[in-house]
Symmetry: C2
Subunit: 380 residues, 2 copies
């Protein structure tokens, strides 16, 4: 049975994962980081699937990054033993952290202020379990974290160490790199990220504090870093599946995008040049990450059922369960004749957001076998 | 225990539903439509919860509207016997439609072209079950449907009737009304919607075809319709919970919004005037429905834990699991002191989109009892 035949038996919309592309994407980044001499700590927030994680992690035990404690719980249960929960810890969540750690998983937390450090230290003393914590560094002004030479850095480190917790290191995420385009700009962002976190590590060490791990990470900077001296590990997540935002800034091509949404044509508005499908924003997500890029891809790029991009055909609009496909404005391309019942595949803007709309992946296996189903989970 | 105390025991982010507000919203629209002499057929795509549906439907058996066959299956299983699946039917889905109908649920489909009509007729003949179908009418140019006096209307009706299916009526959704503001503009939209679908019904009847049901629906037009002569039923969904988009066009106030996301303050960037929380776009959704309204509410309006709106405080940005709260640009309001650990509640842009990010509702019951949990479902 061909892949198209196999896909034609699925209910639509469905979330399609091309395993061969995913494995290729992972191998590409791993080879790059091996050359740079740093560890890859994949961020599993993109896939949220035990089956996918087993293929992405170096072995089944980690290292891994997560964005929710629910992810930590599921992956720890599946045997991952080394996890960084990379969102600033809320003090009320420390009991869950301790419970996960009690199962034998080395779960580390992240923080950037004294209130959190005191809470982590207190929970460590109370439990007799020295919770490992990273201090988050703000390398590009986009979100959380202390400045690389912030005067609070060493005092927070001391609150942890002297309070009974473990200061494992410093961690940053150059989220603004998503707005940079091309190899030179992205390499510059990677260097900015490296400098920020290495400066912070030196600040801690100069104060007599330990800083064994120096962690950076974002998919764009991970791929374009040229030198990671002083860095010990790289976190990245969306690189596993890639998406149109990453293609738009030059980190990948559309041929690397491992995720697509299978949809069925359900009608037409011929005088308007529209093809109506059953994949609206509930399937694609409301993410419009290319809206501010050089090429706005609407709600996604349209491919045929075999995954070949159709010239200048995009999802121009979306209601909850309706997609509206049209030729890109300004294009000379002709609207193809796609009768009711035609299957199409839509490349998403943002793999994390689109995948989260579905309960699981329908997987085109790398070995050419029949479609597989990999469940996903959500929640917190 | 106070509501705030009860909420403080939840893990964040959590989806909070104020049952009293939901019941008040439902009673308000039901009373309005009773005065206009039409039936309310609530759209359950917003709540996707059996517990919520039991409180929204007139009785447990319907009538109801859904946007996916998964919704139809779950609600039919829960005893709803009268359901309209209001997204154009894909021929490959007709076996699932027949299976649901075989359980005793009167599930109707929607279509707007001859290919669909032939498929519905063929499935009816094959199964011996006359599938009821609505012809979708395009009353405002926003999506699917035939024009109200389209020459294809009667031929498609005949394909159904002569082919062995049931022509149940005509159906429209004035989705463009979401862009209108204020009572006059919304009343005009409601009249446009009414005229479109009544014209279509008359076109069918003039051709000797039946058209027992004349169905309109959108939350804005449902509330502002002044006369629904010729219409038999109204569909609406978001009215049950309401949201900032509906408040922005004057259909409700923020005091009517029954849905909020409970979140915890996890940090600050004081020199930037930012408060960082654990409710990012994975919790709020990527919906930015107020972006083009007179007042852009960012990723949501901030309330204290008791649900009181905090002056000019909005979620100005969101990463996957981080929300960034700040005072609205141009406001003279002072950023309140909200220490790490503070609980807040965020009003969403779009109830359908935000609710879909969560596996269930934490319900503040109308009777003042302890919090309840109502599971939600997703998928197709």
């Amino acid at each position: 049975m061909t892949t198209a035949d196999a896909l034609s038996r699925l209910d639509t919309p469905a979330l399609i994962l091309d395993e061969a592309r995913m494995l290729r994407n992972v191998a590409r980044l791993r080879a790059h980081l091996d050359r740079l001499g740093v560890t890859l700590r994949p961020h599993l927030k993109t896939v949220k699937s035990v089956d996918a994680a087993r293929r992405i992690l170096k072995d089944g035990t980690g290292p891994a990054t997560v964005s929710t404690l629910r992810e930590a719980e599921v992956f720890a249960e599946a045997g991952v033993r080394d996890i960084t929960y990379a969102v600033g810890i809320a003090p009320a969540k420390l009991d869950r952290v301790l419970a996960i750690r009690a199962t034998g998983c080395d779960l580390a937390v992240v923080l950037d202020n004294a209130d959190q450090a005191r809470a982590v230290a207190e929970a460590s003393r109370r439990s007799g379990d020295r919770i490992p914590a990273y201090i988050e560094i703000d390398s590009d002004g986009h979100r959380s974290g202390l400045a690389p030479a912030d005067a609070d850095l060493a005092p927070i480190g001391r609150l942890l160490v002297e309070g009974g917790a473990e200061l494992r290191g410093v961690l940053t995420h150059a989220g603004e790199s998503y707005g940079a385009v091309g190899a030179e700009a992205l390499a510059a962002f990677a260097e900015l990220e490296r400098q920020g976190v290495v400066t912070a590590a030196e600040t801690l060490r100069a104060a007599g504090l330990p800083c064994p791990v120096v962690s950076v990470g974002s998919t764009p900077t991970a791929h374009f870093a040229r030198d990671l001296t002083g860095v010990t590990e790289v976190r990245a997540g969306v690189f596993t599946l890639f998406d149109l935002v990453m293609a738009g800034i030059g980190v990948c091509t559309t041929d690397d995008i491992a995720l697509s949404v299978l949809t069925t044509v359900i009608g037409h508005q011929r005088e308007r040049g529209w093809i109506i499908t059953d994949a609206g924003w509930m399937a694609m997500s409301r993410d419009r990450g290319t809206a501010n890029q050089a090429v706005d891809q609407g709600y996604g790029v349209v491919c045929d059922v075999d995954g070949r991009v159709m010239e200048d055909l995009i999802v121009r609009g979306a209601n909850q369960e309706h997609g509206i496909i049209a030729v890109r404005a300004g294009s000379g391309a002709t609207l193809p004749d796609l009768p009711v019942g035609t299957l199409l595949r839509i490349l998403p803007h943002h793999a994390c957001a689109t995948a989260a709309q579905f309960p699981g992946y329908e997987v085109i296996p790398a070995d050419g076998g029949p479609l597989a189903h990999w469940p996903r989970f959500g929640g917190w």
